[in-house]
Symmetry: C2
Subunit: 344 residues, 2 copies
């Protein structure tokens, strides 16, 4: 079924999937090839990227992006060629990176289209290592993960476009890199070709034990692509101040379970991703001791000016401290509870 | 049982508690008052702070701080007076902030002791609003929570020393502040005295519904002191880009359950706290689009120089996209999967 000059084949969303997408989820239809008007160009897709995020677009659960409507063309990144152009800066035959979706032809006014030129090397790479997955890997690792030389990076989906880039950048930056991938073939590719220090097969037994053995100094950066059992194996290995760029949770995209069951942890992780939240534990003096004077001056002023109330509960007698403390854990205190020692 | 000039009463850790601390957890003993040598001073505690973190010190579970040893004096922040000094900068009668623990007397060489002077106003406040809890509230809210005017802040343990300070600073900064506290008395204090916009009683029915009603625009900053059912009620209300300074999880400090059950979510939150982790979801182009050129130049160079491999799986035929995508979600792909449209 080759591309035609007159027919535009489109995969439209036919039904929202429950769990794994099936044969009813998408439907192939044929429409006419549109004609570009002034200020437009007609693009014919050469490459369509497939990425896990697309599962999210099939669902109407709340997320950071609008879902595809029923009957709408599935979205996706594409590398296309210009068939006809009435638009400055784009000529017939140019290769472009666009977001044309799962179809042969799109009209475009040039918005969010990158011209790759007449004869690019490896144009499809603009959908991978030099495109969204590559940028995801690079930015997530260097801007959020911020690995230091000698640290250990764990990467799930280690041979995927994101994971492979993450792990290799980690090696370039002087880190120990441990991948997690499905099957011995992927694992040996990660070690032998990509240069990872180790790669654990999550389909084999003893995932936790094998990961522990491969990370003798723990894990400093976990690049989260997967969730599920990989996350469960990683969690106990995380070092203090571990950084987890939450990039994807592919093991959960087909999940249909309710968030109140044992999957609540994965649900939290999904929320962190979907809502781009920051969760960050802190120990006050470890990070913020240097702000003490600024704090004391500002808050002290607010108290002095009556803008900030402070309530305390003074309990006399050191001997009463254990009961007072037990009550504190039960929430019986009302304000800051302190023991006064000198007045009994 | 007043303070004595010759006896040093000490609460020592007698047995590590399982669940809630009980009468066997701590034991009161009496020892001699120590004598300061050259370069030392003798401090007599006036105020001992009680704080939820102390529960952690009773336990030998891994945490950011060493546990108190069995037989050791319980740790804690104190406001003390100098009884005798052979140390420059500290004279008899001075008030000091120190970390003397649960006992009357301590010797000190001045390390980590703050001199509060001869006659400070409200010396005990150095254990509260002007001390560790206050700094915790201020730094956690302003440096991590980073609320903007008009945003909604939710604060658990709303009338505790941290929560009350958080909420009031939130009001000063122009935010809507919703507290969560135990019982009608605390709630009316939060609203009427502290000036919170609302306060939800977590002991009443309908916590989730009441919180939803009090946060019509969702929650932008959740200052986490509590965990448990409060966290569960807060999670669905969190807005995109919500920030959660994870400061404490007092509802969980007595927990004895295993992390593999339905409490795994709370366990994750504990880990974030204990390990000072950063979890942060991100959407690559939303945050990192401006780095595209830097990224492309750096990664492109690594690929050119053979330092970075890139593998893709080219599948011909748009018609094959759904199956190829379903396989991707099952992990059948090996490298970056792309559909090639023009070659079939």
């Amino acid at each position: 079924m080759p591309q035609s000059d007159t027919v535009n084949r489109q995969w439209i969303l036919n039904r929202r999937p429950k769990g794994e997408p099936d044969a009813d989820t998408l439907k192939l239809i044929e429409t006419d090839v549109p004609q570009p008007g002034p200020g437009e160009m007609l693009l014919r897709a050469e490459y369509l990227s497939l990425d896990p995020y697309m599962r999210g677009r099939m669902s109407d659960a709340p997320s950071y992006a609008e879902p595809v409507e029923i009957g709408g063309v599935m979205v996706g990144g594409t590398v296309s060629r210009v068939v006809a152009s009435q638009l400055d800066g784009f000529a017939e035959g140019d290769w472009v990176l666009n977001f044309g979706g799962w179809q042969d032809y799109t009209l475009s006014d040039g918005t969010e289209v990158t011209n790759l030129g007449k004869n690019p090397d490896n144009p499809s790479w603009a959908l991978g290592a030099l495109g969204m997955p590559g940028l995801t890997a690079w930015a997530g690792l260097t801007k959020i993960g911020q690995p230091k030389p000698g640290e250990t990076i764990a990467v799930a989906a280690a041979t995927g476009p994101v994971g492979a880039t993450v792990g290799q950048i980690g090696k370039i930056l002087g880190c120990r890199v441990v991948g997690i991938a499905g099957g011995p073939e992927k694992c040996s590719y990660a070690v032998e070709t990509l240069g990872f220090d180790a790669c654990i097969d999550h389909k084999a037994d003893n995932l936790k034990e094998n990961l522990a053995e491969a990370t003798p100094d723990g894990i400093d950066v976990y690049f989260e692509n997967v969730g599920g059992k990989v996350l469960n194996a990683v969690l106990p290995r995380l070092n203090d101040h571990a950084r987890i760029p939450v990039c994807g949770l592919v093991s959960q995209y087909n999940a249909t379970s309710l968030p109140d069951g044992p999957d609540r942890l994965n649900w939290l992780m999904s929320q962190i991703l979907i809502k781009r939240m920051t969760l960050r534990g802190f120990i006050v003096f470890e990070e913020f001791g240097q702000y003490y004077n600024e704090f004391a001056s500002e808050v002290g002023g607010w108290i002095r000016d009556g803008k900030l109330h402070y309530r305390e509960e003074v309990i006399d007698g050191l001997e009463n401290a254990p009961n007072a403390f037990a009550g504190l854990l039960r929430g019986e205190n009302f304000g800051k509870r302190v023991i006064r020692l000198g007045k009994d």
